[in-house]
């Protein structure tokens, strides 16, 4: 079984992915509506896992709902909330439900979210989680016991191309690939030149790079993510640009389009984080050109 995302990337096609945050509740109507609208546009939809350590419906359930709709999900799974039993158990469940893409993450610290008094787990780190996924794929769990129906996931990991010092994070990226990561989805890129350097650095690792594009909706939101979302730092000139704009949202779309177009030569795909305004992705894509320039118009 090969995921569509995997075969598209393997055949050298430029891919698009976008993340959709599952609802805080069991009513998935909106989530599904958004995903349906996106599905014609992107190759796969990332389902986030209690993003920002804020409790939401299980990404496993949300991803399974997408599969049921014929939409290809990327199931994000973090080490924050599950020990090694729960991680492997959910991965097997995901495979049984027809989920083919997994993004293995450490997870934001519990202190950022809405359950600060909870006990963070971090039984495994992201590299060890990747090893677990690889093991399951080979028919073996972390205890060395065999499992039936070994899941053949297309496995991704996160990368932060703009993180400093880069050599330090690079050691970890190498370990992630050695542990089975086949693609990287990056943190939001604000400096395409950094993405170029990053892509060059990881080229010997032979992994696909899907570059993250964040839609900044206003100067206030740009400041908020800078202060509250781990690993995200919006550069001051961009905040000033949003500040000065008569229509900040339109300016945000323009910035995202500009970054997406500038990143395109240095990656194998783009990953959109539209923070609830997934409807604006077609607009952003117009700037990218090629087969998407007609999209949404």
């Amino acid at each position: 079984m090969t995921s569509t995302l995997q075969s598209k990337l393997a055949s050298g096609r430029f891919v698009l992915t976008a993340e959709v945050c599952p609802p805080k509740g069991s009513d998935c109507a909106d989530f599904l509506e958004k995903s349906r609208k996106l599905s014609g546009l992107v190759d796969a939809i990332n389902v986030t896992d209690n993003q920002g350590a804020t409790m939401r419906i299980s990404p496993l359930a949300a991803a399974a709902l997408l599969v049921r709709e014929g939409i290809e999900p990327i199931f994000q799974i973090t080490c924050r909330d599950r020990n090694r039993l729960a991680l492997q158990s959910d991965l097997l469940g995901a495979a049984a439900l027809g989920i083919e893409n997994v993004l293995a993450l450490t997870g934001d610290h519990i202190s950022f979210g809405d359950h600060c008094a909870g006990k963070p787990v971090f039984d495994l780190d992201s590299v060890q989680l990747l090893q677990a996924i690889k093991g399951l794929g080979a028919g073996q769990d972390l205890a060395g016991k065999s499992v039936t129906g070994a899941p053949a996931f297309f496995v991704g990991a996160a990368a932060a191309p703009e993180a400093e010092p880069f050599p330090l994070t690079f050691y970890k990226l190498e370990k992630k690939v050695a542990a089975g990561a086949q693609f990287f989805q990056t943190q939001a890129i604000f400096d395409p030149e950094r993405l170029r350097l990053f892509s060059e650095a990881v080229r010997p690792l032979k992994v696909k790079v899907i570059a993250g594009i964040l839609l900044l909706k206003s100067a206030g939101m740009a400041r908020f993510v800078t202060n509250n979302i781990p690993g995200l730092k919006v550069p001051a000139p961009l905040i000033e640009e949003l500040e000065a704009a008569a229509d900040p949202l339109a300016a945000g779309v323009a910035i995202a389009g500009r970054l997406a177009a500038a990143c395109k030569p240095y990656c194998d795909g783009l990953h959109f984080m539209a923070m609830g305004r997934e409807d604006l992705i077609p607009e952003i894509l117009k700037a990218v050109g090629g087969r998407w320039s007609a999209v949404g118009s």
């Binding site: 080490c79 610290h109 932060a160 400093e164 330090l168 994070t169 050691y171 370990k175 943190q187 781990p230």
Partner: protein, 215 residues
């Protein structure tokens, strides 16, 4: 040493509601260094209890309250005062309190919250550097402990929240993996960061721990 701090006095008084006569116990070791349960704090607590209308039948500061035999012996030396009390208020760490309560059927109240195994930066400033994981990896990490100092206990390098060498949970603090990286670089052994550290064996720290030397 074990770092502890006194519970809010209202909480202590609420736990002692209905107990008129109290016997007070401190510890001469860690709780003294933490200024949570030494001679001085036992004395201050005596004043507080008295002004709250309680009678303090007596007090003792045990040399090491966690030492089960010694705490039993020290309480026996004050037998009458202990007997007379309605409750014992113990200003020692959780280990100390349990050595004491194991030696007496009396109602025992915990006066301290026990925090962590701490290093002493300077007087009155404590930091957690080790969480007693049972399988020390310091040799591999330039003797900086990621199990403890990284809020996520990550073993294979920094998380995606690291920002210019700072920790996602507190921009004032350096990321432990940045510290390890700098240390190993200075020692010329930064290659150690290439090694993938496998899943940790947490059975080494299964509770409750027990060790008998030479047995």
């Amino acid at each position: 040493m074990i770092v502890s701090k006194q519970k809010p006095i209202d909480e202590i008084l609420a736990a002692l509601a209905g107990d008129g006569k109290i016997f007070l116990i401190g510890c001469a070791k860690c709780a003294t260094v933490c200024k949570a349960g030494g001679e001085e704090e036992v004395w201050q607590m005596q004043e507080v209890l008295t002004s709250a209308g309680k009678e303090v039948t007596g007090s003792v500061v045990i040399d090491e309250a966690c030492h089960m035999l010694r705490s039993g012996r020290d309480l026996r030396a004050k037998k009458e005062m202990v007997e007379e009390a309605d409750a014992l208020l113990v200003l020692a760490c959780g280990a100390g309190i349990q050595s004491i309560s194991a030696g007496t059927p009396k109602k025992t109240v915990a006066g301290l919250d026990t925090l962590f195994l701490g290093n002493i930066r300077r007087f009155g400033q404590f930091e957690q550097k080790c969480s007693l994981c049972g399988e020390c990896i310091l040799t591999e990490t330039g003797c900086i402990c990621p199990v403890t100092v990284c809020p996520k206990g990550l073993l294979n390098g920094p998380c995606g929240g690291m920002d210019s060498g700072h920790c996602e949970t507190d921009p004032e603090k350096e990321c432990v993996w940045f510290q390890i990286y700098e240390r190993l670089q200075a020692q010329g052994t930064v290659e150690k960061l290439k090694k993938t550290v496998p899943q940790k064996d947490f059975s080494k720290m299964l509770k409750p721990g027990k060790l008998g030397i030479g047995k």
